[in-house]
């Protein structure tokens, strides 16, 4: 059974600090996705990582993918309050599959 684990589950950090959210998955996949969800809202796509070594950056967020380690990271640089949200990673296992398996999410709170 494919498992997608995120850690930490909860993260409270000060503005201006750096931190990393980790996403581990248990089966072969070369496609990994990061989403953001604000409280009471829907999910918004942040990054699509389609190959080993892929790195993408948008503002203070940078995502990377290591398919050999089955690990993706979402790095937050100099956090600001507006980044407070829940972040999900999702994996599309193997090839020829249509399913996306989501992690349990990391709830980030950035304190002013």
């Amino acid at each position: 059974e494919l498992k997608v684990e995120q850690n930490p589950l909860f993260l409270s950090m000060q503005e201006g600090k750096n931190y990393t959210i980790y996403c581990n998955y248990s089966t072969t996949s070369d496609r990994l996705y990061w989403y953001r969800q604000d409280p009471g809202k829907s999910l918004e796509s942040l990054f699509v990582l389609l190959s080993n070594g892929a790195v993408k950056q948008e503002g203070r967020l940078m995502a990377s993918l290591d398919t050999k380690a089955r690990l993706s990271t979402l790095h937050i640089t100099a956090a600001v309050h507006d980044l407070s949200a829940t972040y999900f990673c999702a994996v599309k296992p193997g090839s020829g599959t249509y399913k996306y398996i989501f992690g349990t999410g990391t709830r980030l709170k950035v304190l002013a």
Partner: protein
């Protein structure tokens, strides 16, 4: 483009009642999905469809049925609602793998369902 829309936004049911949730997308996407989101459990796939007239079971299909009679619509039915089906339901769609547009999922705004 409206993107992905869901109807209704909120509903309260009594145990044993039935209802249908409607998902509509105007992006001509082939693939559509229904998820449920519960606290601390992320999103879990209920059913999905890879094209008009096709459906398949996801991770937690029991107690739900789906239909995709038209490409733009994906319906989720609860025949006899139970309190365990209290959740937030999200619909999503995306183009097929390998499509020129990156294959991220586009999510609807969600339907909050409370079963008493």
């Amino acid at each position: 483009n409206a993107g992905v829309t869901q109807t209704p936004k909120f509903r309260v049911l009594k145990t044993g009642q039935s209802m249908t949730l409607l998902c509509a997308q105007d992006m001509n996407h082939e693939y559509m999905y229904w998820y449920r989101q519960d606290p601390g459990m992320g999103l879990r796939l209920i059913h999905y469809s890879v094209g008009e007239g096709t459906t398949a079971k996801g991770e937690v299909p029991d107690g739900y049925n789906v239909s995709r009679l038209k490409k733009q619509n994906f319906l989720l039915g609860l025949e006899s609602a139970a309190p365990s089906q209290t959740s937030v339901y999200f619909c999503a769609s995306n183009p097929p793998t390998g499509h020129l547009i990156q294959e991220t999922q586009y999510f609807g705004p969600g339907t909050r369902l409370l079963v008493l």
